[in-house]
Amino acid sequence: MTTQDLAATFDRLLGPESAVATAPMLALGVGVLAFLIVDLFRTLGRLRPLVFLASVGTSFALELRILFADEVPGVVLDGSLHADHTTAIWGLLFLAGTLLAWIYSAGYYRHQDKPFKAEHDALMLTAPVGMMLMVGAGDLIVFFVGLEVLSIPLYALAAFRRARTDSVEAGLKYFVLGTFAAGFFLYGAALLYAATGHVSIDALAAADLSSPMALAGAAFVAASVFFKVSVFPFHLWVPDVYQGSPTPVTALMATGTKAAAFGFLIHAAGILPASAAGTVAAIALVTMAAGNLGALAQEDLKRMLAYSGVAHAGTLLLVVAGALALEERTAALNAALVYMAAYVFTATGAFGLVALLEADGDRFTKLESLRGLARTRPGTAAALALFMLSLGGIPATGGFLGKWFVFSVLVDADMVGVAVIGVLFSVVALGYYLRVIVAMYMQPPVEGKAPPTTVRPLTAGVATLACATMVLLLGVLPGWYLGWLG
């Protein structure tokens, strides 16, 4: 290879398009490195929030540049990464979710966890890089790298409340099962490569995948991603891990991981045959049943939200089924973008409020101790009620808009029966969301169990207000956001 060839290759790989496409991730990477430096000097410790905000803010601006550019970079780096309006919107959602989770984490940790503040923030800043790689991946290898870049920080973060056994258990459980799922993914990708000679997603979608080896590969890849988004029967880890993890981390897990994995699933839906639509729809409905029925039985808000997360994964999987049946993914992609936008703000807000309640002690996340919250903390109660209605998909909230789009895809794909069963599960879901509102607004406080008045950090109030504003904005005036979609 001559020098010219090498130079040409570098030009091709590192041209201006590649720079634009990778810049949002690089901005976060620079932030992570800055954390390592800042952490070396005791006097620079105060700069940590600044580093975090600067890094996320820069990345946010760079994603906005892609979103509003006339010409998007498109496929770069030899087909291994793509950057367009869709990935930009995903990126913005990841960044918003990470930022909100980080704000809620301020003041969340107990004294004994504090020494690792810099590590905590650096790990949180790493996770969205993985998410961006996952939705931008052009081939299975880049997706796998993204998956690991996302997962490894989350394994560590899950166990971050070191003094507590449930947190350590959550970290370990997530790590063991997550590694297992990663192994599945690699095995599946290898089988796909062996069967077709491709790892590129577009090439795989175009290739003939009818051989048993290719089908097995696609099934393994799908199973691994299903694990990440907590789809039946790979959802059993969710309640324990979500409950044991520090709540801001749970928020990031529930929203970011799910969004990134669904972004990939819809992009890569072509790997699965169109005939799989019925199977995927059936899995989705069973997931909704498992999540909703599980949530109905919970007495703890955090655990209930975990099961509700499973149910929402089932709803989104319906979109994937719709994409398969339609053999077209724009509508499904739009539906997922709307649904996840609402879910990111709703679920992060809800988990954030759980984090606030936990400040008074673990038992304050029990539904029973929410009684009378509307009188003692009217702001918290109102916000939590709003998030519950949004999770239940009641109009004037973003949740409704998401539900509308999901069921539009199904109706469009002539899956009316599936849609009707799906909407009826939302009725079950409202059964437990309403229990939270009933406890807060309609039941008197339990005698002698009045919640202590711990001082709440102002930051949490700001984050909650931001979440609530976005939930209402998406629900009432969604025009600006829908305008971003293709």
């Binding site: 109706v411 009316v416 009933v438 607004y441």
Partner: protein, 506 residues
């Protein structure tokens, strides 16, 4: 713009109330009363200006809302009235200030929240009746569930939590099935404009009609979906019951007419026998239920099932008299059942019981209460000269043209109605005073008289001069009836082509 102000003024007032300090209940009530009275005035103005003889939509307001990507369907924020909705709007607007007034007597705790939800509810209800975009309609339709959920759940009586969750889940189940139909309709027709969808003459799929009809039938409620109603009505605070009977149930019958019969005339003609049967069975079954009740409030709740059976019967007779009577009876039921719930609330505030056996002889201690009670009961049983008679008579007449059988069944409901309501009147008002505590009850005060007087006046007005109201609906309903005749005619000629036509073709 007028309609936008009308719809959102209550919401604006709700925001004002949310921002005011909660301690000063008098100020909060004054704000709520002022806002609702203003809306009532605007509603009355709208009613006077409305031209009844003309079919079609009037005072339409439209602005872009958002576009559904993919399908490229523009969704508009579009409001307007026609002969069907005008009566519902004016009924809602007039009832609200009276409901606010009535709440002075029974809501003493968490007044701020109560008035907030009451006002949000008014915006939701007016939005349902005025929305002329299917997305907007669905939006208001589901949003209006939330305030009532809070009103019943916080200020209701003993079994309020059970009742409110049952109410919410029951109605939301129907609404969500309708959502699938709404989506299919919008995407298949490429528009969400109600005006355009109503003007569409092609036959729309019957399953969409079924999904709409299910949601509305639960809301009305049509037998066998009525079980939530008795619980919600009984457990709700007086204001909630009045709103539920006066307006919320009308959302169901309004929906059946607008988004059932008017939008799907073909399917409605096919389904008419079923709805006639359900309506007539509802009349009798509701009346039998009411006869068996010992709780006065529950008795009125069951009578609602019976009375709304009349509305359904009249509408699905699909004749001129039936349609007009059905729409008028919606208003009548709002007035007379609203009054009944107000009266029960007033006597409950004094005696803290609703058991029929705990009353007796109240006519002697509370003569004014007795006067209002008797007028209301007579209006409800359909005494000529009062509103109920006009509606029921037109409905039965209209139904007789369509189906004599169900008309006869419906008439028995009138008789049953007289039995249970007059029996209840006897037990409450007449006879000896059984319980000593009932001797010292205070009669109605000025506020209570003032809040019931407008409704009694309306009842007499409709009884004597029904054309003031029927006239407003005539244009729209006659156009609808012509449309149904066309559909029927087309159906008949398709089924059995007349020989004359064949000859001409030959």
């Amino acid at each position: 713009m007028g309609l936008v102000a009308l719809t959102f003024l209550p919401l604006a007032a709700a925001v004002v109330i949310a921002l005011l300090p909660g301690r000063n209940a008098a100020l909060l009530r004054a704000v709520a009363f002022f806002a609702t009275t203003l809306v009532a005035g605007m509603g009355a103005g709208l009613f006077v200006d409305f031209e009844g003889g003309v079919p079609g939509l009037q005072s339409v307001y439209e602005s872009a809302w958002f576009t559904l990507p993919g399908a490229d369907v523009p969704v508009h924020f579009r409001l307007g009235v026609d002969g069907i909705s005008i009566l519902m709007v004016v009924l809602t607007a007039i009832l609200m200030p009276l409901v606010v007034l009535s709440s002075y007597g029974h809501v003493k705790e968490r007044v701020k929240e109560f008035l907030f939800w009451l006002l949000v509810m008014e915006t939701g209800m007016l939005g349902v009746f005025l929305a002329l975009d299917l997305v907007l309609f669905y939006f208001f339709w589901e949003v209006s569930l939330v305030p009532l959920y809070f009103l019943v759940g916080i200020w209701g009586s003993d079994r309020r939590l059970y009742a409110t969750v049952k109410f919410f889940l029951y109605t939301v189940a129907g609404s969500l099935v309708m959502l699938v139909g709404v989506i299919e309709l919008i995407y298949s027709q490429g528009t969400s404009d109600v005006g355009a969808l109503l003007a569409n003459t092609s036959e729309l799929p019957a399953w969409i009609f079924a999904s709409f009809a299910l949601a509305f039938a639960i809301k009305v409620p049509v037998i066998p979906f009525h079980t939530w109603l008795a619980d919600a009505h009984t457990e709700a605070p007086t204001s909630g019951s009045v709103l539920l009977a006066g307006v919320l149930l009308k959302m169901g019958t309004y929906g059946l007419l607008r988004f059932g019969i008017q939008m799907f005339p073909h399917a409605a003609v096919d389904a008419a026998p079923l709805f006639l049967a359900l309506g007539a069975i509802g009349i009798v079954y509701g009346a039998l239920l009411a006869m068996a009740q010992t709780d006065l409030k529950r008795l009125i709740a069951c009578s609602s099932v019976s009375h709304l059976g009349f509305v359904v019967l009249g509408m699905f007779a699909l004749t001129q008299a039936g349609l007009r009577g059905g729409v008028l009876q919606m208003v009548n039921h709002g007035i007379s059942t609203g009054l009944l719930f107000l009266l029960v609330g007033m006597v409950y505030e004094r005696t803290h019981t609703r058991e029929l056996d705990r009353f007796g002889g109240l006519a002697a201690t509370m003569p004014l209460f007795a006067l209002f009670f008797v007028i209301t009961v007579l209006s409800s049983v359909g005494l000529p000269g009062l509103n109920g008679f006009v509606g029921e008579y037109m409905i039965l007449l209209g139904t007789f043209e369509a189906s004599p059988l169900w008309s006869v069944v419906g008439v028995t409901g009138v008789i049953f109605g007289a039995i249970y309501l007059l029996r209840a009147t006897r037990k409450v008002l007449f006879g000896p005073v059984v319980h000593e505590s009932n001797r010292r009850l205070a009669d109605l005060n000025g506020r209570e008289i003032a809040l019931m007087a407008p409704l009694v006046l309306l009842a007499v007005w409709i009884g004597v001069r029904p054309n003031t109201f029927i006239g407003k609906t005539a244009g729209t309903l006659d156009a609808l009836q012509r449309r149904i005749e066309d559909v029927r005619g087309a159906g008949d000629s398709a089924a059995a082509p007349s020989p004359i036509v064949e000859e001409e073709q030959g």
